[in-house]
Symmetry: C2
Subunit: 202 residues, 2 copies
């Protein structure tokens, strides 16, 4: 049992420091409140403390304020970066697209879309959101630059537009189930090949 | 003044039937409640009636239930279909992409993303959402089929994946402001040309 991650109602695990358990309970309470449909503005440090079963002071000892706590909580929703093969640009883009919108925590599907209005209203929230997605965007940029250097991609490639061309279709399908008949399992390969080859006759 | 659309607090316009004014107030109240962050499940016919200043019976005389009312309210958020030129596939795709995620009512930006969790939970909501977007998808499909027939696009084109490749990047930018440095005004042209030509050297 000691290898399992303790949850709020798991039996007390004596090997795990109390402070780590409190951190996890606080992050968990924040995500629960967001997943229940509460907006970022509506959630207070008081409400998070009450849900986590800790005092407000416990939260302020760990985070300077609500925004820093939210940033950490939202970061935990994202899985790790995928491991790139470094073989062909096609292989690596397929790996990266397979991870787009693929969040480990099931609460992410409820939380992420509803953040959008807050993100568009507040420069701070927009920066938070950009900080979360920028590392993945940078990884894809590096793969594209490598492809240009190797002659696999056109020399005049618009890297930023290409990022959107690859990520956009995958994200709307994973997040919005935009099209009921598209198969998510084969979609990364179809998008990568479609974007690589174009839709005009060659 | 008689040409203006009356709003809830506009002076009574005697030329306009009372029933039309009530319809508009009910639709408006529904959109206001959604834009304030209330979920589809949380909104009741009672709450809509109270906000619109009408009785519940007035709503039930016009709509069989909450889902039908929500469908009509959400449909009003979408602007009309763009007028296609019919010249080249490139021209028509650019026109269609210019309209993606371009909603006339500013409440749409608050409402649409937050519908996603509800849409993914309930088959009825998912069908409602598909009914709203399917007419535009069909218009783009027709342009692509025309391009295949005219030899402007490859004969073996996967129409459904191509829809996602064109719409996805535009939608994430308009809805999520996915990338802070992309210029929305020139994005339709860049996406259409990128998808037409592909990113491999020709």
């Amino acid at each position: 049992m000691s290898a399992m991650t303790p949850t709020a109602d798991a039996p007390r695990s004596p090997g795990r420091p109390r402070s780590v358990r409190a951190d996890e309970a606080i992050i968990d309470a924040t995500l629960d409140l967001l997943a229940e449909g509460n907006t970022i503005e509506a959630i207070s440090v008081e409400a998070i403390a009450a849900r986590a079963g800790v005092g407000k002071a416990t939260i302020y000892r760990r985070w300077p304020g609500k925004d820093a706590l939210l940033r950490d909580a939202l970061r935990t929703l994202k899985g790790g970066q995928p491991e790139l093969s470094g073989r062909s640009v096609r292989d690596d883009l397929m790996l990266l697209l397979g991870a787009v919108g693929h969040n480990i925590d099931p609460r992410a599907a409820r939380i992420m879309p509803c953040l959008v209005p807050a993100v568009n209203r507040s420069p701070e929230q927009y920066e938070l959101y950009q900080n979360i997605i920028e590392p993945r965007r940078e990884l894809m940029r590096e793969v594209l630059r490598r492809g240009v250097r190797a002659g696999e991609l056109r020399a005049d490639l618009d890297i930023e537009v290409t990022l959107a061309m690859l990520t956009g279709p995958m994200l709307v399908q994973r997040m919005l189930r935009w099209h009921p008949d598209l198969d998510e399992a084969t979609l990364p390969e179809k998008i990568v090949d479609g974007v690589l080859e174009g839709i005009r006759p060659r």
